[in-house]
Symmetry: C2
Subunit: 603 residues, 2 copies
């Protein structure tokens, strides 16, 4: 079927293509070779899906779009304070090629005008083994996710005619804003502007900024969050030259344009946008590129100030352990203990990227339940990144919890939590929610005086299967069981086999695993503890095993085969009936538990 998003972008492309305003830039003679009708639009989601319309593979030189990326490189190399010595962050209200510095500080006003960009290029470290421009080209290639080259002819043309930029560079040198050699720095700046990209490349580069500095296609991290914010802040107020108030008001996207016709826009966390069309207006912005940004911003509501209500959606669900225990099977008496005592354990599943507001929501949940809850389990399975400040808040919350005598467990299957966040605080971090729940279950059972399942042996006549049998009947039944041992790791039941045996787990832990249909990887579904009966479900209707059970430790079982059971049916019918009754009671109990859980999980 048609791709609705692509169709919407095609609609924008078609509308905007009708305009042929503007003219090829003639600042650099070689740019006049461009085909003025070329026009491409690219949107790339922050997680890497690409939508491309029009001339997205036509190469052109990146020009001033490069300024945003080298500014990020300088911040990354030297830190914000050092960079602030050389370039400001205020809109200049002047043209991009103005030959003037801030009179009070001597700095260029911002890194998006040529003076600021040259000062920034000078900040890219030059090492003997690695010339400055090689570092720049390499970084741009990583932003684009492919090896980029540069256009020697455009470089030569710019170098032969770039007197104004040489003037700026010498002015910068005179104020000590750049070092030596001035010519080498200007030439590297010209090379940087001559890096050859396509609209498709710019889309990925923009998406890297939208994705907090990680190229969503390659997974390569180019910048940290804080520097991405700084780059975007300067793009917001200075990226489209003058009229920054109007740009924030009407389009609301941090953006950067170049005189060769490229424009990038960034909606943090959502989209990177690129447009390319060579005809530019008097300010040097691509006429169609700007129009495309405006129309995309309106069609997709890509306004920075339209933010989602994180507050109400940060808790996926929250419930007591008594409402949905771990998926493990225990003797009914243990399940009863957990049903009663599990009300003191609260499980909070978070979702989305974690922000201050997420921790606020969690803290509120904690404060308002603290009277009833002694243990909190926080599940991070459905969360994304945790930034530094959020980490600090989470640490503060954990500190307050522990100080109040509460227990805190954090399930972090994706490893989103930097271990240093909780260093020195008594918090248990587990690899899954199920494991955290399991730990709490074992604590609750131990507190109720139940024996540790891992060291328990259950005798044959203690199983619920043998309830309500007379001694005589029990003596008839028990010899029909075979004792069987499984070494840790061996298969007890294999999916697809005939379900022709029922197992009473006397010792050790059995583990139900399931092969994921997509990946073929086996994952743990549940652990079964001594006292549990399993494998009985398919016994009567000749079914096949639906799951595989392995011995998680050395395991000892009592096994009754279907043949034995059927023999019992004819020779000791009353005993047989009692067993089926007991199985039915067990199944009823499990069904009651499962449906309650399902209702909660559906919620």
């Amino acid at each position: 079927m048609r791709d609705t998003i692509l169709r919407t972008i095609e609609g924008v492309h078609e509308q905007v293509a009708q305009s042929d305003g503007g003219a090829l830039a003639d600042d650099i003679p070689a740019l006049t070779r461009a085909d003025p009708d070329h026009f491409g639009i690219v949107m790339v989601t922050a997680d890497g899906r690409r939508y491309e319309v029009g001339d997205v593979q036509v190469p052109f030189t990146v020009q001033s779009v490069s300024k945003a990326f080298t500014y990020g490189m300088a911040l990354h190399a030297h830190g914000e304070a050092a960079v602030a010595q050389r370039v400001g962050v205020e809109p200049s209200g002047e043209a991009f090629n103005s030959i003037s510095l801030d009179p009070s500080t001597g700095r260029p006003r911002n890194p998006m005008i040529n003076a600021g960009a040259i000062a920034v290029t000078a900040l890219i470290p030059e090492l003997s083994a690695r010339p400055r421009f090689a570092t720049i080209l390499d970084a741009f290639s990583r932003y684009a996710g492919r090896e980029l080259d540069w256009d020697r002819e455009v470089f030569a043309s710019e170098s032969a005619t770039g007197f104004r930029n040489r003037a700026i560079a010498n002015l910068l040198r005179s104020r000590g804003m750049i070092g030596d050699p001035v010519d080498g720095i200007v030439e590297d700046y010209f090379r940087q502007c001559a890096i050859e990209v396509t609209c498709a490349d710019l889309g990925v580069m923009a998406a890297t900024l939208a994705n907090s500095g990680v190229n969503p296609i390659t997974g390569d991290r180019l910048l940290d969050d804080a520097n991405v914010e700084r780059v975007l802040a300067v793009m917001s107020t200075c990226g489209m030259y003058d009229a920054s108030g109007t740009w924030v008001y009407e389009v609301g996207l941090p953006a950067k344009s170049g005189v060769s016709g490229g424009v990038v826009g960034v909606l943090p966390g959502q989209f990177g946008i690129a447009a390319f069309s060579p005809r530019v207006d008097a300010r040097g912005n691509s006429v169609r590129g700007v129009a495309a940004c405006r129309k995309l911003s309106s069609a997709f509501d890509l306004h920075l100030l339209r933010a989602p209500s994180l507050s109400t959606h940060t808790i996926r669900r929250s419930y007591r352990l008594s409402e949905a225990a771990s998926s493990h099977s225990r003797p009914d008496v243990d399940h009863a203990v957990l049903g009663a005592r599990g009300a003191s354990v609260l499980i909070v599943e978070l979702q989305g990227d974690l922000f201050a507001i997420s921790i606020e929501r969690l803290a509120h949940e904690v404060v308002s339940t603290a009277a009833q809850i002694s243990t909190y389990i926080v599940d991070l399975k459905h969360t994304g990144a945790i930034d530094r400040s959020t980490g600090r808040l989470l640490r503060a919350l954990a500190t307050d919890l522990v100080a109040d005598g509460k227990q805190l467990l954090i399930a972090d299957p994706g490893g989103v939590l930097d271990p240093s966040v909780l260093a020195g605080i008594e918090v248990t971090v587990t690899a899954s929610l199920d494991l955290a729940t399991l730990i709490c279950e074992q604590q609750l059972l131990a507190a109720a005086g139940r024996p540790d399942p891992e060291s328990t042996r259950v005798e044959l006549d203690a199983f619920e299967l043998t309830r309500h049998l007379t001694d005589h009947d029990r003596a008839r039944l028990l010899p029909r069981f075979t004792e069987r041992r499984y070494a840790a790791g061996s298969v007890i039941i294999a999916q697809g086999d005939d379900a022709d045996e029922v197992f009473l787990l006397a010792e050790g832990v059995a583990r139900e695993v399931r092969r994921r249909p997509d990946s073929g990887i086996s994952e743990r579904m549940a652990d079964l503890y001594p006292g549990v009966t399993f494998g009985e479900l398919g016994l009567l209707n000749q079914a096949r095993r639906t799951t595989t059970l392995l011995a998680a430790t050395d395991v000892r079982c009592f096994v009754l085969t279907r043949a034995q059971l059927m023999q019992l049916r004819s020779t000791d019918h009353l005993v047989y009936t009692r067993i089926v009754e007991n199985l039915l009671v067990g199944a009823a109990e499990r069904l009651r538990r499962t449906s309650q859980e399902t209702a909660m999980l559906r919620g």
Copy 2:
């Protein structure tokens, strides 16, 4: 236990309180009465939780903080185009009380300087029945969520000394930017500035902007999304007077200050912030207020450009109907049909506020599954607001789906979808996911030639309970059943009763309901259709009913009591055994289905 969030804000308050820079404003003589040491900080989440530290109940006049709110009122009353005739959106680079207009347009440069604010006040409609200031005071009261008053003494003081503002107003009048009477407009502007608020009030007013224009405490809508964005855009670039680039770069919050010491900041979708302390700097910004905003922004990472990755979190889960059908009970043969044919129905549960990126994610899911899926169910239960552009995209997607011959159902329990979004497109909107699933199940069953359950009658000997019985045994068993009828609405099984009967549903629909422990409201858990056996689970172990079943339509059942069953046990043991076996097979089948579902739902 301690509230971690409050504690963090207290920490900021304590640190910032140590500074006593700045001085009381003396522009307006009455302001010098303020206690310079007062200092309050308030944070209010976009969904209305409040954190208040320090002097948050001290009244003061709102002064220039009012400008942001009257600008919103003007946009709301006249639309953006009309307001743009009278005031621009560019930072002025001049002081707040500068007597100058944009030379090219004659407009004040933006609504946050006095000239712009007076032009905006003049735009608030004056009706004969309702003077302009009454409209303003009423709107401010709704923003604050309580009835506000104004300080006559401050007004009189400002009116007696406000020559500069009178000069500005007359300049505006000379350029036709305001009408008559000039004096009346200026006096209304002075009254607006003299509205008395507390820091707590400003927190709620800021949170109203953070919550897309809806006061989160009262639920009152003051502005629509698009106008909120406009107000915030102007606050971002002009709210803190000059140095807008630095403000966006360092603090990154749309903000507005006033000369009496108030500051508001807004992080859309997350927090409203207010601070109050009367000592101001040379620009007229509260010294502690600005410091508090900076420190809060850093402690909570409240930067506009730090956005969540919506892209990866917008789909809560997505699964085939065959993996988790509706919660309804049907004869096994129908469940088998659904298990096979349900793979053509995809259920996509969305979450969070819906943005363009959410629809992009949904569209991607649709396009990449279109080859296998004929029906899509989209669940909006966990989503928040849907804005206009998102609505348009959703409409485009629905159009493409229907054009491709697919069926689309949308479950919208919260009514977040404006009906006009899908007007004219063949889409079924239901009040719950369960209902949408049910509709698809009925279609699948009908397509497989299964009879319509609502008009089905199942005879006693067709139930699975009587499987594998000889004619002789069946003749012994069937007379023990009683036929029973229930009128629609009557109770079949009541929660807490003895579970002493098993029911075979012959005709009509039975409905399981459960009282919610919190609200006491009964909610539908599942419908049961003819051919289903129920009530059998507690039969053998003397259990109590865990749910209530009502007759959803007129219902006819065959009932076997525990007494009859026990009699059968002694008189016709083989028949009894067969029944228990059949019940066990049925329970095993249900358990298999439920555990598969639970595993999926836990996922």
